[in-house]
Each structure stands twice: as structure tokens, then as C-alpha cells.
Subunit: 408 residues, 2 copies
Amino acid sequence: MNIEIITIGDELLIGQVVDTNSAWISSKMSNAGFDVTYITSIKDRKEAIYNAVEDGFERADILLLTGGNGPTKDDITKNTLCKFFDEELIFDNEVLKNIETQFKEKKIEINELTRNQAYVPQKSTVIQNRVGTAPILWFEKDGKILISMPGVPFEMRWAMNEEIIPRLTKRFQTKRFLKEVFYTHGITESGLAIHLNNFEEQLPSEFGLAYLPGGGVIRLRLSVKGDEHADEMNKQANKLKTLLGDYLLAESDDPLQQILGNTLKDNGMTISLAESCSGGYIAHLLTNIAGSSAYFLGGVVSYSNSAKMNLLNVKQTTLDTHGAVSQQAVEEMAKGAIDAFGSDCAIAVSGIAGPDGGTEEKPVGTVWICTICKNKMVSREYSFGKSRENNKRRSAVMAMVQMLRCMA
Amino acid sequence: MNIEIITIGDELLIGQVVDTNSAWISSKMSNAGFDVTYITSIKDRKEAIYNAVEDGFERADILLLTGGNGPTKDDITKNTLCKFFDEELIFDNEVLKNIETQFKEKKIEINELTRNQAYVPQKSTVIQNRVGTAPILWFEKDGKILISMPGVPFEMRWAMNEEIIPRLTKRFQTKRFLKEVFYTHGITESGLAIHLNNFEEQLPSEFGLAYLPGGGVIRLRLSVKGDEHADEMNKQANKLKTLLGDYLLAESDDPLQQILGNTLKDNGMTISLAESCSGGYIAHLLTNIAGSSAYFLGGVVSYSNSAKMNLLNVKQTTLDTHGAVSQQAVEEMAKGAIDAFGSDCAIAVSGIAGPDGGTEEKPVGTVWICTICKNKMVSREYSFGKSRENNKRRSAVMAMVQMLRCMA
């Protein structure tokens, strides 16, 4: 069964908004055993929507739409879908009641545009949106299904989790998607491909092995569909683990910050941060994890030399002699964080993010990372590259990798 | 002239990677006056690629492809495109030389898979990739153009900026896309739509007005194509500004963190942060801006009470009497940041991000923000919602909004 996603919105086609909905939906569907084969982003236009739906149904059985609805959008999507499915719009008092309840909670008056959201197709299934005002619409025709959801990520996620995935799973009983994900580090993508050449050749044809590089680590995803392959999956995963040896960093599909958080929790340890060039990005990643306050005590973003000295006790002579981007400075920063927060572990990062500030000796992309875990301290110099964004991202990823290695 | 983007990669269809390339390309193309009308994401499969290219050319004149190339990908994209354009692959020594130069710099040996990237279509234009190993391929047939780029964002961006956009602009001399973007705050999307109803009705048909809501602010984009409309654009933009009145926060297409940074720079002021529930996200956003070290002195991510007390001088009695999420605590945090960093301005944020930690009196989503600008201090309570991710995001956006209002 093929499933396609269509995301609607002019903002996507001029690049003012990144389409994060598609990846989120794909990930959820894939974990539920459904196969997303195509993603399309189109403009808020009748013709574009009609054609995309028509083309989509030529390939797929189920279309998941997001966006193109909402009070100011003139309901182009709703009207176009009604035309496609040959439906009439009628006013639905239950939808209005749902909107009224939400507006009462927020103490806002309902205006006419919002009230219009209660117009829904007469024959299709209307699913109440409990976290927003645009109802979720479920159309069916000739064995094909189209589900139209709001584009607001929070509302779409609620709809998928609470309504769409449970209904689809119940109805289609699809095969489960089995996967094992391995974080690897210390080898290039092509080096890894050569290293795993024989493994890939002996892999049964139902299995897939995907390389997912990013930020200096490569995730390997071994996958297969159907519980009947569970034993073989186990065997192959063990074979792969052995082959990876020291390249293996972690066996998990979680993001690195979650893996680090779990490791800290499992060891009953706390962590703090001293961030210079990563600029708070590591703190942001760690605190994205619910419950992180159990092990993350805090951090200092020491973007100025005075902050390094006043808050982290970095010595003036260290900065004068070695500079802020040096082994000495980053080690004093890490020790300063341990002292300031009273944590068991600490990460300190200092580097030249760019685009300016580079020198012959320390070009843009030079980053020093120090990790402390109890009595163990590791310091390493990295050279990432010329992109500021990339340097922040790679600093954060490598800081977490180095911390995990330091704790191992 | 219609332009479509096709992004290739299994990782996109299972949601392990968010397709940020499409938004970036769309934004750049739109700013250069080109119209992206369709975005498709497909799997790394011969048939999927062939069909997507065939379908794309039925609608569009130019197709921009990213991904599906690289040493481990078995060059499915390259082979499929050669089939589509009826081309043969030949070994190109210049491409090899380019790869060799880069590998020498990084002190890595070239392996066979990487060497294979020097196989390129015989007749098409090969553009050297100076920041990676996969060459950029430019195919033409029957007045249609297809450009295949690497999927690595840094390499794709380099290719677009340095090679693709200059070549397309030179050749097609398109009309310039004029736009004015206004940040508004303090009114709902539907409220704004009603407020601007008459304005939209009088707007000449060549003009467009888009609503781009996010994080508690709504960006309004007024746009038109072609320099001949510049005078009218000016007139309409002024009319809109007057209508927006106090709802207008800033007139700019930059992200909020850039607007805040520019305002600080223009006023010769510095800023520091005391972040609790936003967890370093504001620091991350501020330091994403190149040159932010000129005004951003640093921040404390005070995720524990002891960090609030030790680093920001928040009083034990304040935490005991009012709690960490209170006007009193957030004001002491902001003052503590001013003292610790010696900055002119400070933002302090403390709230309950969720999913746990909420109470009857202070439910998840309750956030206090304090902003100080020289002698002016403003504190406000917000109630955002139930999503942790959203609470961090809205805390950051509202903190920057409140700071901008505080400085005005």
C-alpha cells in the first residue's frame, strides 16, 4: 500500500517555512509499518491542489494532506476537495461547539472567519480537532482515502497520534517495520561502505541497510518488514555490531542528546556545560529532551572573555598566553563548569565559528572540546570547516560523541 | 517559467532527515525572481527518479535535483539521468583532479568508491564541486534544463550561490521579485485578516499579501513581480504600515534574532541572558547570527535552583516563597545576568516547559519573561500550551518580541 504526503502552502514554495511536517509524518508512518513513497509540496491554489490530488491517486492508495486550511486561507483546500470528491459543504454545529469551547478557554471572541471553519463536507467523516479550530476531514472514494489535516505542526501531530494512525492501523493491519539503528564514528561514509561490503552482499534481499551521515557521525539503519524476520534481524544485527567494533558509538534510534541523557541517568550522573562557539546549542539540544532537568544542571554561554573569567574562572594569563581557543582555555572552562554547577560531568567548547575571526594558525572551524567525567578528562582539537551553521552543529555533535566516549 | 525541486533520498521518506534543502533553494530562487511551483521528495530508486523527472518536465521548464549521489549510493541518480537524457558515462580527469586536491588537503586517501564519482555524462555540462566530491551536472534537452546537485546542504548551497543562480539569472533575465515583510504582534491571524480586509480589496491584482504566522507573531509579506511596480509597492507598503499601527513590531525580512541584533548594534548596546525553560535556545538563536559576539556577552542556562542562586544571585527566599516560575524570580534572574555579564540589556525566562511539572495554579506552558533595557524593566506572564517544543519556541520568540518592545 502506497502512501503519499501533500503539504500545501505558498510559504513552502518561497522557502519562508521549512516543511517539517512531512518528515514527522513519514517517521511516524514508517514506525507504524506504513510506506510513504512520495512527498509533494504545492501552492495554496485550486488548480495545484486538484492536480496534486489527482496525480497522487494515480500512484497511491492513501493521501495525507496538511495545510491550506485556516481562517484566512479562504478555505481553498476544503472547496477543492469537495469538488474532487463531489461533495457539498454544510454547517456543522458540533464543529462550532468545539471551536467555541476552545475560544472560551482562551477568552477570545469568535469572529466570522473562524466560524466559517464549521462548514464541512456533508458525506465525509469529520474528526474534531481538540487542539485547534480547523476540523480534520477524512474522504473516501473507490477504495482510496484522503485525509486533510491542519498545517500547524502541533495540531497535525495531535491529529496523527490521536486519530489518524490508530484508525489506519486498525483498518489495514500492516506489517511491522523492524529496524535497528547504529551510531558509528571514526570512519568516513565510503570507508564504512567498503568495510561493510561483504556484510551487505550476504544480507537477505528483504533487508535494507541505509547510511545516514550527519554532523560527523554516520547512523546505519538495518531494516526489514514483517515480524517473521525477527530472528534473522537479530542475527544480522549482531553480525553488524561485531563488524563495527570500535566504530560503534551507540545502538539506538534516539537522537544523540537522548542517548547521552539516558547514559547519564543510568549512571546517576549530572552534567553541566561551558559553551563558547556552540553558543548555547548543546544546552538547547539537551533540554529538548523531556525530563532532562534530572541530570542537566545548567550551562554558561561564555561568548565574551570576561564571561569566561568571571563565571568559569578561566585565568587572564591563559587567555593572554594561549588564547580563548586552546586546550588550556577549554580545560579551565570545563573545570569551571564543574565548580560552578557542582556536576559530575562537564563539556566545554571553544572555537572559531566564523565567518570571521580565523587566523593562519587557527583557521575558521578550529574547535577545542574538553569533556570531564568524574576523574577522567579528555581534550581534543577538531577542524570542521568554513560554515558557521555547520561549525555550531558539528561542535555540538562531536561534544556529545566525545562525552559518550569519555564515559564509556 | 516554472521551476520544480526534486529531493532524492530514502531518509526523507522515512522521516530521519528533514528536507531543509527545498526551503533554502525556494527562498534563494524566489529572491532571484524565479518561481518554484512544486517540490517533490522521492526515494533513491531508478523508477521513482525517472518518473519524477518525466512528470516534472510535463509541468516545468527547469528541474533542480538534490541528493541521490555520493560514494555509497551506487550512483543511481547519475545512471537514471543518463538514461533519461540518452547519455553515456565517461571518466573525467578534471573531476578526479578536483577530488584529489580536496583529499590531499584533508590528508585522506582516495578509495575506489570516491574515484567513481569522476564518471560523468559525456555531453552534459559538468560543474566542478569545489567543496565536495560529487560533481554538479547540468543537462539540457528540448529547451528544458535539469541540474543535479549534491544533497549535502553545505555543498548544495555552495553550488546554488556560486554556480547555478548566476548562470540562470544571466540566461533568463527574470523579473525581480519585490517584497516587503512586516512583523506584527498582539493580534490573532483572523483578527488581522478582518482588520486588513479593505486593504486587501483595494490591492492591485498583481500584488499578493501572505500571512505567515509562527511562535506568536505573524509576518505579513506584501509582494509583486517586476521593477515597474516599485512605486506602487512603496505606496501600498506605507498604507499597510499605517494600518498596522501598534501591531507593527518591525519591518524586515530578517529572522527576529537578526532584527534584535541589529537594534542592539544600532544603539551600541550589549545583551546577556538568563534562561531557564528556554534551555539555551535564545542563546542559540542569537549566536546563529554572524558577528553576534559584538553585542551578545553570554548567558546562563540556569536549569537548577542552585544555578539560579550561585550564578544569578536569585535569593533562596524568593524561590521558597514565590517559586522559580514567578515574577520575583525572573526579575532577580535578569538583574543577576546584568551583574554577571555587565551588559546593558538582559532577558530572563522561567517557565514550565512540560510535559511534567505543571500544577493547578501554574499549568504547563506558564512562562514568566523579564526584559531589562538600561533603566527600564518589563515583566510579563504568558500561557503558551502543552507542547514542550512549542513552549521553548514561543518563549524564545516572545522574549525577543518583549525585548524589542522594551527597547522601543
